[in-house]
Symmetry: C2
Subunit: 345 residues, 2 copies
């Protein structure tokens, strides 16, 4: 079966990640990943009209949930694969995550990054990689002319490296799912769980974890309107794509859901919704001002989705218990004024 | 004994707050204040050359440690005093703290604030006070022409209100000390503890807690160079003052240490140090970029002090275990670009 625009989800992959896999990942991550705080705020509760539990993966190592999946995947490689090394392609947070996991596990790593990735992410990836064994390297490409999977695949084949994809891998998805596991352990039962969606790794893992622990929790994926491929795919039941969408949420510029993530999202997510760039920037400002955490645009997607849902369908959320996952906090400080200005326009 | 420039610390007040008082405050605050996270970061460790444990009181209710002291003081008022109400004067964070504590404990409150307090603090104080019983109100004054203690005292006398001073009160100091209690419980033994110093409430409470739990921990207070009254007082052994210092650290613009805080700081602090405005802004930027938390300038004092000490006397800190308290995170987002620009100049 070819996997391209119009493909149906491969239902044989929908249970490739189980709650047991996520619990096993949590054991691997114990003492390595941070157990990030769950914050609450009267201002956020007021904006959503509900009791909100905000899981702060922007306070995770490398500043994003991505460390969970990367470490969980690298930790399961065979000794032979570890010795040869790994390769990944990423707009930034997964790149840093693989770089740090490689440094911690002493595995050589090649990281393929787009030239338009935020400077803070490029710099941080290089800094983490400095502690990984050689030959480790960052390879920068032009996203307008190059498909990262093709470039990465060619280098990996040439050097015998194991590709650690940013989202479409059961071990990566299981690692990301530990985020919801921790959140639900701390918050108790939730009525709704809002999770951002780029390639769908975090959403897939969290949906499996939430449904396994608390079947009545409604899991809602949130995308930028400008990069709504997963929302259209979910609604149509067939794969839809986008190409280089100009959203400020650089982590959600992924062109399509993966084979695993499409199958899992189709089975376990209850709903998908989108937010405008302005709503996203406003949510980012609210989280910075009232929760006092630095959030990258992609990281504010789930909060923006909850606020939009509260405005459009207040009766759905009113008085309920809501989980919101902040996915990351890697933003160039120099970009913050322009991002916040979008909220005011 | 008059208390003015040149006064010696009143040693009879140096033990007005004990570790037992701080433990009792912790019980009062249990389930009311947040147990704020202690964050760690390779970048912070690298900047200081030591293992750093950063206690994030910017993630406390009202965005600052001040909630601890205010609630601990209001919770101990007699029923008669509660019925009449309280008054306080503050540049911002203590104002919000008293407003929220008053709302939670159903006590009327009058808050006296300077007209140049950050807008975010004025707005938040009014919002919290909206939930307090009447007659509650914010009174704004011109700091160039009015001494807040005099204005506040006159209103309190007129209406029979109990004054809750921002720092110079044993119940306030004991509440602030719970910050170090929690930090040390989580971090284990520390070699050094850096704490910002405005009026000295947080420094006093944390010094008593740290010395009680771990006598060998060196407690270091940090001030802006532009508002170095406590550093000069500590070194001279007599009270020194400043008047409206133009530091970006608005929480450290207090004119002098109080009777209690001078006595306690003189006895329990080991050292005082100062940082430039530029060092302060640079620490703020580092905490925002690498710890991914929003920090107000005053909130970055302790980190700036640790970084400066590491630069001037690296052998003193190298390889040690260091506590750093971020005191608050209430900053107008619109001011962040200008604050960060100071770091680059």
């Amino acid at each position: 079966m070819t996997y391209a625009e119009g493909a149906r989800p491969d239902t044989s992959l929908a249970d490739a990640v189980t709650l047991a896999d996520i619990r096993a990942a949590a054991k691997r991550l114990d003492g390595v990943a941070k157990r990030t705080p769950v914050l609450t705020s009267r201002a956020i509760d007021h904006a959503v009209g509900a009791t909100c539990f905000v899981k702060c993966e922007n306070l995770q190592r490398v500043g994003a949930f991505k460390f969970r999946g990367a470490f969980n995947a690298l930790a399961q490689l065979t000794p032979e694969a570890r010795a040869k090394g790994v390769l990944t392609y990423s707009s930034g947070n997964h790149a840093q995550a693989v770089a740090l996991a490689a440094a911690l596990l002493r595995i050589p790593a090649v990281i393929v990054m787009p030239a338009n990735a935020p400077d803070v992410k490029l710099r941080a990836t290089r800094a983490y990689l400095a502690d990984a064994p050689g030959p480790s390297d960052v390879v920068v490409y032009d996203p307008a002319t190059t498909v990262r999977e093709e470039l990465g695949g060619a280098i990996a084949k040439d050097r015998g490296l194991t590709v650690i994809p940013p989202y479409d891998h059961p071990h990566v998805i299981a690692g990301q799912g530990t985020t919801a596991l921790e959140l639900l352990e701390e918050s108790g039962p939730l009525d709704h769980l809002f999770v951002c969606c780029g390639g769908g790794g975090l959403l897939s893992g969290c949906a499996v974890a939430a449904k396994g622990l608390s079947p009545r929790t409604r899991v809602i994926g949130v995308e930028p309107e400008l990069a709504d491929d997963a929302t259209r795919s979910f609604r149509a039941g067939t794969l839809q794509t986008v190409r280089n969408p100009p959203t400020i949420a650089d982590g959600a510029r992924t062109p399509y859901l993966g084979r695993y993530t499409f199958a899992i999202v189709a089975k376990y997510a209850d709903e998908m919704c989108t937010v405008s760039e302005r709503e996203l920037a406003a949510a980012m400002a609210l989280l910075m001002e009232r929760l006092r955490v630095v959030v990258e645009p992609t990281g504010a997607l789930a909060a923006a989705g909850a606020i939009r849902t509260a405005r459009e369908r207040p009766e759905q959320l009113a008085g309920s218990r809501i989980g919101i996952i902040i996915s990351g906090g890697n933003v160039d400080l120099a970009d913050i004024p322009a991002l916040l200005a979008i909220a005011a326009n």
